[in-house]
Amino acid sequence: MYSEKLLDHFKNPRNMGRIENADGIGKVGNPVCGDVMWIYIKVRDDRIADIKFETFGCGAAVATSSVITELAKGKTLEEAEKITNQDVIDVLEGLPPLKKHCSLLAEQGLRAAINDYREKQRAKH
């Protein structure tokens, strides 16, 4: 069902955990499957200096969380915003049809974190 690549990310998730005093937090969930993903980012000079996730969800949700953090880390916010769920799927060498939406959760989680950061910045000024 799942690729070797996915199982590796699931077993050894990268950037798992929480960032205290994160600059932005994205909290997303899928009402159907009930899965929930929180993405924390630390931003320096418009760049994602650090990123972590917490996920309650299926194997694919965990793996896509892991992948999206790897993809985003070090990128400028503008670059990071352009990461799509397809990029995540590509890294994972495919997802079962029923599990496509898990990668969408990851895409949405990252974008929500960036938006949260931007809104907080706006609020400061």
């Binding site: 929480r18 009930g34 929930v36 996920t55 309650f56 299926c58």
Partner: protein
């Protein structure tokens, strides 16, 4: 490998397979043909029918072979609906039935003008016979309640419900797929009109099942064709599988007492250890009125599939609910019916034991799962929030 998913399917007993073999090759004949060799095949079919009947305390003429539990449920329910639709259009079932009952009822609602009452259950998953009685109206033609639930193992009060059905002259179907071959069944005592079973749930072959049809009870066939199974289930008889099912029934009768006491000890031990070692878990189903081989838990703040994958890495096979719903994303309809919140229901695990399991299997599982839960909880926003 540690296999703890016997409610999904069981290995075919090697003795059963051995018994089947010659009916594939040397004795491959069509039981409906006229020559002597075919008559041997016919006798083998009738011999198997007797064995199935004996397991259920029925008589041979009351047993029809089908392609499995799903078909047995479907033809009993659709066949009764087709036959009695002019007498009434109301069916009573429960919220926790298998999809092979629930989705049939939904089909009849959507496409054939039937009304279906889905009875609630208590927090243990038990249907109240009094609710059944109250739900009966003068258009009620069928009650369908399962003997034991496949996910949580809760055993329903079939005998009482059967009595109520009889008093009210309503046909009563019982999905017995999870009890046949596991606990003693007497269709006579249970007052059922139809009773479904499936071979692969008790060490028989896949693709074969049976439907008990009480003498005098009629239904309209769903398939049409040749005269096999009195025309109620046409198609060339699956002789090897029928022989295998018969053998599995025979073996089940022999081993039932021993299997049940052994598996109960193992299951109870697993339950005890997991409850001790993992904080914030819930044991689902009735504490006593439960299949001796089934343990269903909800591990709060963790999602079921993730646990299953980690268990698989450790060589442990389990499930989170029924196998047939693994293609679905929603939490178990059974657990929701017990009143468990969706986010907790998502963290369900079902361990279902079988003949081959040992105390070592249990110990290893009870060692491994707490670590897995801890690892996943570390990752869970809900756990970390607490």
């Amino acid at each position: 490998m540690i296999y703890l998913d016997h409610n999904a399917t069981t290995p075919c007993d090697p003795v059963v397979l051995e018994e089947m073999k010659k009916w594939f090759t040397e004795m491959f004949f069509n039981p409906s043909s006229i020559y002597t060799a075919s008559q041997r095949a016919k006798e083998a079919v009738e011999d198997a029918r007797k064995k199935v009947a004996r397991l259920l305390d029925a008589s041979s003429e009351e047993i029809i072979f089908t392609s499995g539990g799903t078909e047995s449920n479907n033809i009993a329910i659709i066949g009764t609906a087709l036959l009695l639709k002019n007498r009434g259009n109301h069916i009573i079932t429960s919220l926790i039935e298998h999809h092979a009952v629930l989705n049939v009822c939904k089909f009849l609602e959507k496409n054939m003008g039937f009304q279906v009452t889905y009875l609630p259950v208590d927090k243990y998953g038990i249907v109240d016979p009094d609710d059944v009685r109250k739900a009966i109206n003068d258009r009620t033609i069928l009650i369908s309640i399962m003997a034991a639930n496949n996910e949580i193992g809760t055993i329903e009060p079939i005998e009482q419900i059967g009595k109520i059905a009889k008093e009210n002259n309503v046909v009563f179907h019982c999905d017995g797929v999870q009890v046949a071959g596991k606990i003693p069944v007497s269709v006579k005592k249970l007052n059922v009109d139809f009773f479904s079973l499936s071979g692969h749930k008790f060490y028989g072959p896949k693709g074969i099942g049976a439907l008990y049809v009480r003498k005098g009870v009629k239904f309209k066939p769903v398939f049409y064709g040749g005269h096999q199974e009195k025309g109620l289930r046409p198609g060339t008889e699956n002789v090897p599988a029928i022989v295998g099912l018969g053998k599995a029934c025979e073996i089940a009768e022999e081993k039932m007492a021993q299997d049940s006491s052994k598996e109960k000890i193992l299951r109870d031990e697993l339950e005890k250890k997991l409850v001790e070692r993992i904080p914030e878990i819930i044991v689902n189903g009735h504490p006593e009125k439960r299949l001796y081989n089934t343990l269903n838990i909800c591990v709060k703040y963790v999602e079921g599939e993730s646990m299953l994958l980690h268990l698989d890495f450790e060589g442990i096979c389990a499930s989170s609910g029924s196998a047939c719903t693994s293609g679905s994303l929603e939490p178990s309809h059974v657990l929701l019916a017990l009143g468990i919140p969706p986010e907790v229901a998502h963290g369900s695990l079902r361990f279902s034991l079988g003949r081959s399991n040992t105390m070592a299997d249990i110990e290893r599982t009870a060692d491994v799962l707490p670590e897995i839960v801890e690892k996943l909880r570390k990752m869970s926003p809900f756990w970390n929030k607490k």
